[in-house]
């Protein structure tokens, strides 16, 4: 420090003192100016883009379903893996399962599944009947159904539901208003038709049908009876799909020419090679009933009973099981309906040896790598489906158009195409950079616009953003069941009604026929049949 400075530290504040004391304050002015310039620029860009795209900025509250009115009495048919999930989504879980969630939430503060389940809306229903061909599953279903307090071990259960060995007896019961069908696919048609005839409303898991013919018989039965039918595509409740529809309707990506959807899994469970329950045997399983719809009967096989998705006798393969989720996602956005033609191929390339598949007696017949192309010449686009049960490379969904393309899953991102006609001027002027999204939707974020930061998108893509903040995480299956129940009470049609289900069922059946018959399968839309 110089002598002058030391003097300046004296008691008398002089001009020099003030200058030195405030020397760096103007930097704040520079910061204010810079921030103002940048904010203004972002705002102008965002405002111009919003005006151009005309997408609604606000969160929507279309996910609120009403539960008031009469208590609906439910029967559950099939309490395997999916049946258990559906019952939980409806508000009923086995005390052991709740106990496990509770303990996990105590050891891991991040694990919110217990709290989420406790906070899940009461749907104003009672489960009065359960039906499963395996005694162990049926008993579990009864314990879950009577666990009305959502308690863990040592709780006080409510009245037990009646167990039915034959679903037909359940459908004849007076204290059943509606049924949730989570049986294997080969039973879907018969149970749905019988339920419709008995006047019971139906929530059925996908796939809609096992064969092409069943598509017609199920649809006719449902329409004739007037019951409320909902097919289990819970993707109908996914917010980003609804935003994607708005983006398509507002022509953000222009005329569509190609859609690409995929499935990727790489585990035994993901490939339907499920565990075989040690207590399953001909005494505890009604094998004859399981095989009833099959043309060719098979001897008792625990593999076939638990891993039924691996055989065409009971399942619909990647087409009915997983393509349908993707197809329904696109169908709810575009409403493109049944394709004009389908071609498909695939094979058992991954789970094809005893060691790999943990097979006991026989190898699977249903492919684990499968690809299909559906043509829509009237709409000038192709729908491409590609699936592997031997790789986790999740490729998401992409819709490609002349002016842009969109990628979506839980989030939605729209990009402009470099050669776009609609965005030609904006790309030239620099308002739109084809490398950057023109629109991003992240559920739970306060508003949707183009300027979501790179880090925000990284976090959102990994599910880190909207899960814990702004309240609770809601299960889409729960919402899908809630929508069905509201439709029953109000006498309306739910989002995935039998017409939507029919389109999905026919497309899936065309995919299966194309692969198994090794030909391109055509659809005559006037005659409503495969030609």
């Amino acid at each position: 420090m110089t002598d002058k400075d030391k003097n300046a530290g004296g008691s008398n504040m002089n001009r020099r003192d003030v200058l030195k004391g405030l020397a760096t304050v103007p930097v704040l002015g520079a910061m204010a100016y810079g921030t103002w310039r940048k904010t203004k620029q972002d705002h102008i860009r965002n405002h111009k883009l919003s005006k151009e795209l005309n997408m609604s900025a606000d969160e929507q509250d279309y996910k609120v379903y009403k539960h008031d009115g009469d208590t609906i009495r439910i029967g559950i048919i099939g309490y395997g893996i999916r049946g258990t999930q559906l019952m939980k989504a409806a508000g009923f879980a086995h005390p052991d399962a709740i106990q496990k969630l509770k303990e996990q939430s105590l050891t891991n503060s991040q694990d919110k599944r217990y709290a989420d389940f406790q906070e899940q809306d009461d749907l104003n229903i009672r489960v009065t009947g359960v039906c499963d061909l395996f005694d162990v599953h049926a008993e579990k279903a009864m314990a879950a159904a009577s666990n009305i307090g959502r308690e863990g071990k040592g709780g006080s259960p409510g009245p037990a539901p009646r167990r039915y060995k034959n679903y037909r007896d359940m459908l004849a019961a007076d204290d059943i208003d509606a049924v949730i069908i989570a049986s294997p696919d080969h039973w879907h048609a018969q149970i749905t038709i019988d339920a419709a005839k008995a006047g019971k409303h139906v929530y059925a898991e996908k796939g809609f049908s096992l064969t092409m013919d069943e598509n017609y018989t199920i649809r006719d039965a449902v329409k004739t009876s007037g019951i409320v039918y909902q097919l289990g595509h819970q993707g109908r409740q996914t917010e980003s799909y609804i935003k994607a529809k708005e983006a398509i309707d507002k022509k953000l990506i222009g005329k569509i020419n190609l859609i690409e959807v995929c499935t990727n899994r790489n585990s035994a469970n993901g490939a339907w090679v499920y565990d075989i329950h040690p207590d399953a045997n001909p005494n505890t399983v009604d094998w004859e009933k399981f095989e009833e719809p099959c043309d060719v009967k098979h001897p008792w096989s625990p593999e076939r009973f638990f891993r039924w998705r691996c055989w065409w006798d009971y399942g619909t393969g990647l087409s009915g099981d997983l393509l349908t989720h993707e197809f329904d996602a696109i169908n709810q956005i575009l409403g493109m309906g049944i394709p004009s033609s389908a071609s498909a191929s695939g094979g058992v390339y991954v789970w094809n040896n005893k060691k790999r598949g943990d097979y006991v007696n026989e190898l699977r017949k249903v492919p684990d790598v499968w690809n299909a192309v559906f043509e829509y010449p009237d709409l000038d686009f192709s729908l491409l489906y590609s699936a592997s049960l031997g790789s986790n490379n999740n490729r998401g969904k992409t819709i490609m158009g002349h002016d842009g393309y969109m990628e979506f899953g839980n989030t939605l991102t729209v990009y402009a195409d470099r050669q776009s006609t609609r965005y030609n001027e904006q790309i030239k002027s620099g308002l739109i950079d084809p490398e950057l999204p023109i629109y991003t939707y992240i559920p739970g974020r306060k508003n949707a616009d183009a300027v979501a930061t790179a880090t925000e998108q990284y976090f959102a893509a990994r599910g880190l953003l909207y899960t814990y903040r702004g309240g609770r995480r809601v299960d889409t299956t729960h919402l899908h069941i809630a929508e069905w129940l509201q439709s029953i009470r109000e006498g309306t049609q739910p989002s995935c009604n039998v017409d939507q289900a029919f389109e999905e069922g026919v497309a899936a059946a065309m995919g299966i026929m194309a692969q198994r018959e090794n030909r391109t399968v055509f659809w005559d839309k006037d005659k409503e049949q495969v030609v």
Binding site: K6, K20, G21, T24, S109, F459
Partner: protein, 158 residues
Amino acid sequence: MKDIDYTKWQLWSLVILRVAIGWHFLYEGIVKLLNPNWSSLGYLMDSKGLFAGVFHSIAGNPALLNVMDFINMWGLILIGAGLIVGLFTRIASWAGIILLAFYYLSHPAIIGVNFAMPTEGSYLWVNKNLIELLTLWVLVLLPTSRIIGMDRFLFNKK
């Protein structure tokens, strides 16, 4: 504290360094203030290393998360402004060191750890948070705010 005798170049270099770090803090704070969607949630959830559990549990508690967001946003703004104008600079520097230590512990540049958040460079043990932290420590030891800065009015009265 006894004032250090700096040469003119030493003094202004240190002041520029102080202002630059202050600028960085202040702008990071303002950006968060201006963005209604900002939350430390994603950053905390992305934590890795020895202390990841602590940061994850903060993220898992909505009330605590709100407090953390508030402290972080206004901490950055006040530290940044303090360093720039040279007001309560010693406190601002230490607060900055603490904040940066949290960032470093949340996202340590250790072997075998990868973050969702993209980085613009390559780091092993030493990253820019650590360097900024160490620089603030140097500024604590080589203070300038009583010469160039508003601390001159507060602390130099005799």
